[in-house]
Symmetry: C2
Subunit: 601 residues, 2 copies
């Protein structure tokens, strides 16, 4: 059975050494996040995830969820008990606001726990994971009464939440939704319609489930401008907080999926269910985006997560499995064969995953810090800057992170040879689970268009210019340092490619917007490559500084430097070929009509 160890040392390195979270201690929300506190939280969360959640991962996949005739859903063996422990330990409350019973610690720390949970058991993690988004939407757009009624119990884990967007005929294009909300004159609405692909839509983990549902009021515009958001609890909540009547929302079926079988993906029927509007009428899309942005970051972390757990197990296997001899001569002549760890192609796959995982972890936590600064930076200007930066990074974390997370989980399966294809070894589950992250909460094609069609151009390109400045300054400074010069120069070349690609969009997309669409995926990947390069340059800089002080765990910092070099040599070159593809534009891509795609006899 696969195992999982939380990468606590690497996490501490990023938070305490690279991001230097302690230096933000004067800001609200950061006071309590001392290095000691951070260490304690990280270590305990890591322990819980590796000891309680990881052992349930394969069981969850094998058993899946079961829907009973009465519409109730049972989660896999052990999930309920593990969830109770999760709630008891307060893991979901770490970065939630204190006014609603949270611990008010930085999001940066909350993201760490999200990573550990998603890595040890992705299907399990989705139950509390989606609640985070629902809570964010309620806090941002809900009335005081709604917040008081739902938020504290959702934060504590007494209740869980869901996001109801997709319908059978529409997912990305939410303007087409058909679910109706009829006002009842008492402030409530009757919600009627069918929602599909609702993760954690029904289950036995909590006594109540709080659904956030997109629907249309009578006469609403027939577009995305006519969508409103509603809160629809499974059980109505009495004034004293006790549970009342069962609401008219029920699970019609659960999907049979490629993976994340431990999570119940439901079709939910709303048959005049009682709901209350969250925020303003027809402004549901904005409230939905609050929920969605939180969810997208969580999905990006899932990309890292599956690559990480697959990597850890592949390392174990590569050191244990013996086949053939090192190309440079037997590494262990007394044994019949060397561990496959000696083969460059195996090492290539391991180093690729290592370089991605550590770089991606840094990107996610840097992104989390931006979320914190959006709320808590000292000045309005700094808050706006952080908000713009995380807006820019969100589609990259989600899109690039999950594309590559899937690739590297697949490579780690490859390390196992034939055994990787057999279920009992558990590697193929990581690949199947990782696959959904490229699809849900907006496919990666949608992420690419969010980045290129919306975020790049926003406010005259302020965010991307700020990004270029940040990376450019780091490069300029590192080029002065002999130990970092080579990495910095390689990153500079990749940054040049990104800037050229940006310029190409500026010069060509107005004339033909398809040019933007045709290159958006490539651009998202260039940006992911450059951002991880920026992370690696910063990590290398810190590692070099530490090494100058002859630290105890010298090997850790030396590995950071080598991996930074590996990243520069083997990831950054792709920025060049991606730019060439992008600059090919959309002509040959869009030229052929549908008849050319039919299979001709």
């Amino acid at each position: 059975m696969p195992t999982y160890t939380a990468p606590t040392r690497d996490t501490r390195f990023i938070i305490n050494e690279m991001l230097d979270l302690a230096s933000y201690g004067n800001l609200p929300g950061f006071e309590s996040a001392t290095p000691d506190m951070i260490d304690t939280v990280i270590n305990e969360a890591g322990k819980f995830c590796s000891e309680v959640l990881a052992p349930l991962n394969q069981i969850g996949d094998e058993q899946g969820c079961t829907r009973h005739d009465d519409g109730s859903v049972t989660t896999p063996d052990g999930f309920k008990e593990a969830f109770d422990q999760y709630v008891e330990s307060g893991w979901g409350t770490i970065s939630a606001p204190e006014e609603f019973g949270g611990q008010g610690m930085p999001h940066t720390l909350g993201f760490v726990i999200e990573e550990f949970v998603a890595t040890s058991n992705m299907a399990f993690g989705m139950y509390p994971g989606l609640t985070t988004g629902a809570v964010a939407a309620l806090i941002a757009a809900g009335s005081d009464e709604q917040k008081a009624t739902y938020v504290p119990n959702m934060i504590s884990g007494k209740w869980l939440g869901t996001m109801n967007l997709t319908e059978p005929h529409c997912g990305t294009d939410l303007g087409m939704i058909r679910t109706k909300a009829e006002p009842q004159g008492d402030g409530s609405y009757d919600i009627t319609g069918t929602k599909i692909f609702i993760s954690a839509g029904e289950h036995d983990l909590t006594e109540n489930i709080i659904h956030l549902v997109l629907a249309k009021t009578p006469g609403a515009p027939d577009s995305s401008k006519g969508i409103s958001l509603f809160v629809v609890p499974k059980f109505l909540v009495n004034d004293d907080g006790s549970l009342g009547e069962r609401n008219a929302v029920s699970c019609g079926s659960i999907e049979h999926k490629m993976g994340i079988n431990g999570n119940a993906t439901c079709l939910l029927n709303y048959d005049g269910a009682k709901g209350w509007m969250v925020g303003e009428e027809n402004k549901g899309l904005a409230a939905m985006f609050v929920m969605m942005n939180a969810a997208r970051l969580g999905v990006g972390i899932q990309g890292l997560a599956q690559s990480e757990v697959a990597y850890q197990n592949a390392v174990t296997y590569a050191l244990d499995r013996r086949q053939g001899r090192a190309l440079t001569g037997p590494a262990e002549p007394e044994a019949k064969a060397d561990p496959i760890f000696v083969h460059p192609d195996v090492r290539r796959m391991l180093m690729d995953a290592k370089a991605f995982n550590e770089g991606m972890r840094a990107m996610c936590l840097w992104g989390a810090l931006m979320v914190d600064l959006t709320h808590n930076a000292a000045t309005e200007e700094e808050r706006a800057e952080a908000d713009a930066m995380i807006g820019l990074l969100t589609p990259v974390i989600k899109g690039y992170g999950t594309d590559k997370g899937f690739d590297f989980a697949t490579n780690m399966q490859q390390v196992y040879g034939g055994h990787g294809y057999v279920k009992e070894w558990g590697m193929e589950q990581f690949v199947r689970d990782a696959r959904i992250a490229m699809i849900y909460e907006g496919t990666n094609g949608v992420q690419a268009m969010d980045l290129c069609g919306r975020k790049l151009a926003s406010k005259g390109g302020a965010a991307i210019q700020a990004f270029f400045k940040l990376v450019g300054e780091e490069i300029a400074s590192a080029k002065q340092d002999d130990g970092l010069k080579d990495i910095a120069e390689r990153l500079e070349k990749a940054l040049d490619e990104q800037q050229a690609a940006t310029m190409w969009f500026m010069n060509n997309a107005m004339q033909n917007p398809n040019h933007l669409g045709a290159g958006a995926h490539h651009y998202m990947h260039i940006m992911g490559i450059v951002t991880l390069g920026y992370m690696w340059l910063r990590m290398a800089k810190v590692a070099q500084e530490r090494l100058a002080g002859e630290p105890e765990d010298k090997a850790f910092y030396e590995a950071k430097l080598t991996t930074a070099r590996y990243y520069a040599e083997r990831f950054l070159p792709d920025a060049g070929s991606l730019r060439r593809k992008l600059e090919a534009g959309s002509e040959s891509m869009m030229e052929l009509g549908e008849e050319a795609f039919a299979t001709a006899a």
Copy 2:
């Protein structure tokens, strides 16, 4: 449910127009392969595959195979009847030698049928598919008696065959096998040992199964130089050809796998089973490679196959599913939304798969022609050249073909959004099935080392020099043609990258063989990219010639030209970044010791 249409038009284009098979009509084995005959075979085989095999694909995945307590194995519903029809129609006999009851047609045509079968139902196709390799080994190394006893029934499909290489502790490193062969003094051997991952190792499709088994005779060298090959029938064969005693080989279990569930992957126990040596003692590895090379080409075709069937269904879905509007304004203003086919990112994924599938099909069939010429070219020199070329191409067809086949099957699943992740749509099965092709018959890492460590250097690099000459001449000629100039120049750049990478290996791999291992995967991909580019240039040339004659199906040839341009613009650039990675060498890749890969707390 997904559907499949055999791409007969495209196949005819490659065979009749690009390869011009008719021009080889003066060579033995080619006489009967007239364009008319080819058309008939292709059309009928295509019909059989789409009407009989494709509808069983999803059933095979859902049901899988069942092992009963007596060790017998039942294949999924419908497989036995379909196999009987397959045998009756003689689809497995097309390119088998006439002296053993085959139809003696070119391998090029046999490959077409292999593609159609693998595309419509990969798990089914593996039953007869592996037999092809076993037959090749028996014909190459077996005695006349062995050939007479087994081969005709294996060709007709009365019996099926298997390849038994892997054992629990060894796969790639066959020198470590432990299966023993004790001579019995009567020419037979008692075979004892355990073999795993034996595809089609036990089933109910045929009355007998002919196992080809690697084992060691007493006192054989303790390395790959001490391996012998044995033929071990499930039922012994009496002198009159009737079936005799049940042999002591039995299925101990079947694997639960990520995919290809319709094929029984068996653990086989040999408990003193009676077998006969095939070829010379201790020369089993050479005989095994005959079998393996045939199998590797078949696996390469599986990469194409899953990408092709996934593509066909993704096209249907993209034209049917409506979400959002074209970036250039509504394509169908009267509808609520446009088909997702209008979105550049969807079109990118479809065009990528189209360009790969058609190019890969051309590469596979060009490779098949090399197989034919190896046997039947007019002069010894031409036969040797063809043999060297297919030797060079085999790891590329297998390794590059299955890596990319998996990637594009995955992209086609992406076109479906959330529905792609749900089992009933069938797209996720294509991805799961495609995954094994990167692993079995030698992982793609093994393919890369076969290409770079063995084939490149063989006979002073004669094969790769011949390849460079061939591609170089095609480019030089195309550069004179205004319609092909741009494609040719882009291919020239990619060929330059490959030549530089080859030179880099020559200058560096002697000094440190890890440099070769570190770049082998990249090199294999560069060579795949260039070879498909060469195929596209040849296809574009033919298409342009045809268009000059104002043909009836003008649109078909125009699509070829556009897709060739798309390939040149969007696939060839990767050769450059891959070369840069390759030239980074092995230092940062191999520098870190095992402790640096452990997850630190």
